[in-house]
Symmetry: C2
Subunit: 308 residues, 2 copies
């Protein structure tokens, strides 16, 4: 059993992890803290774009009241004291700030992990700011999430039968990997190891690009003259297609910047193929259009049958 | 009460209409027939690209066995005999063939309507092939549908609290409009009149473009080297985003060709905006990215709150 876990950023993912670990009896005490606590306590200049994430003590109080965490601390050094594991659960653009703060106050016995959707950026950030502690850092990404955010949406079932990808390097402590793997397995998830850059490429295609397209489409439509009618006559298909455009803008802004290379590469491929489809419609190339749609339906149906 | 309705193409939409009308007691007898019956009986050369829709007598037999229709006929002239209303429920690319067949065998008392997702093409086709009967034709489009197709998926509840857009012209018989409106209201739908080309523009944005993007994205991803992993690590967001890529390829192929002008126009606007977002990611223009995502989330949340 884990004695104490500190979760930095008790939102949907951090809160769901806390609920799952409490429900499974895997951890004696869960302490919550926030990005703001890290920022206030680091006392250092934090480079790069700051996330607009607003994990304040009001949010931590709510997490305590909802019984998601056992207690919360607004001093990062107090929050991480004697923690076996520190889980960084903030938008990926805020990870630099967290690592800078942690470098000053985390013991060398403490294992650090994260839940970010991009792994190259966080891995580089950990190497840069955690110093010797970086061997205790295990980059992790639970492939779970809904368009809702915030601790109110947290659920202990969120990771059941989902996958968690971890991307340790050859420098990562084997014990740390084992502890993080075991923690996620307690939530009902399957843990899979993957190369850092390969993770970022796969997720750019399957998650980051779809979010980008959904946000972009809804924004385009919302600026058309007929926008009120467009939304009025939208049916269930549109609702499903655009669900991910209701996701947290800050989180996805951070992902776009943190994984920009992989996202731009797959976006270029998509745009090239979309252009071909556009030309086929212009030229009334019936067979081309039908071929694309038939292949897509077959892939999508196969994917869903395998998942269900 | 309607005495007899003939439905040409008893799939998801035609079958759901039949079920709804039977459930509400709005119609004494529902006769099913098929595109194949129309093709076999018209005996004329049918111009344009033929739909690959395969509404055969096996499908009609299934519809009868499922009690969706009261009887079926494989001779189009027998099927439409003494029908008060003929509902054309085939992929929009097959409407020419239907109208050619109907022109020879429908009485001048019979009202004709359709359920197609594009209205300019069907309206022009009716004018061209129905001759004098075209004043009895009321173009209609129920804004309802799921990614499933076929009579097995038909449900009498499909149109409950949904909208049906009708696009009559000044030449359309007022009685015909009134009868078609009343028929749809019996299914629980709200009927709204709209200009033909305006319908096609609004639907291109809210329905046709999203389908195009979903088909195109899934096809692109399915051809990447990492395709098996991409689908393996896809989560709920991807499943929702791509649900419409499981729709009937023939139906959507036909829609893309029938409404190509409006689709190409809104696709161009979308592509232009997507290019700006791509540039912003390349240039790490944080504010631009965040602004797009915040606007999109706001629009999507507002749309969903209004719909629910």
């Amino acid at each position: 059993m884990i004695n104490r876990i500190c979760i930095i950023g008790v939102g949907l993912i951090g809160g769901s992890l806390a609920r799952a670990l409490k429900a499974s009896g895997a951890c004696k005490e869960i302490v919550g803290t926030s990005l703001r606590a890290a920022n206030q306590n680091s006392g250092k200049h934090i480079p790069g774009k700051q996330s607009t994430g607003n994990q304040s003590s009001a949010n931590l109080l709510k997490a305590k009241q909802l019984n998601v965490i056992d207690r919360f601390e607004t001093e990062i050094s107090v929050a991480v004291k004697d923690a076996d594991i520190v889980v960084v659960s903030v938008p990926v653009g805020a990870q630099d700030a967290i690592f800078i703060a942690l470098a000053d106050c985390v013991s060398s016995d403490t294992i650090i992990t994260d839940v970010g959707s991009t792994k190259r950026s966080v891995s580089d950030s950990a190497d840069k700011y955690l110093g010797k502690l970086s061997t205790n850092f295990v980059p992790a990404h639970p492939i779970a999430g809904i368009e809702k955010s915030g601790v109110e949406a947290a659920s202990g079932d969120l990771f059941q039968q989902r996958r968690v990808i971890i991307t340790p390097t050859e420098n990562t402590s084997k014990i740390a990997v084992s502890v993080v793997q075991s923690m996620w397995e307690k939530t009902g998830a399957e843990v899979i190891k993957m190369d850092i850059d390969h993770h970022d490429e796969v997720l750019a295609a399957t998650s980051h690009l779809p979010h980008l397209l959904a946000f972009s489409l809804v924004d385009t439509l919302s600026q058309l003259d007929e926008k009120s009618e467009i939304f009025k006559y939208a049916a269930g298909g549109f609702r499903d297609f655009t669900r991910i455009a209701s996701s947290d803008p800050t989180m996805w802004h951070d992902i776009c910047l943190a994984n920009s290379n992989a996202i731009l590469a797959v976006l270029e491929t998509f745009t090239r193929d979309l252009k071909k489809l556009e030309q086929a419609i212009q030229e009334k190339d019936s067979q081309f259009i039908l071929d694309v749609f038939v292949r897509a339906k077959k892939s999508r149906d196969t994917f869903c049958n395998e998942q269900l």
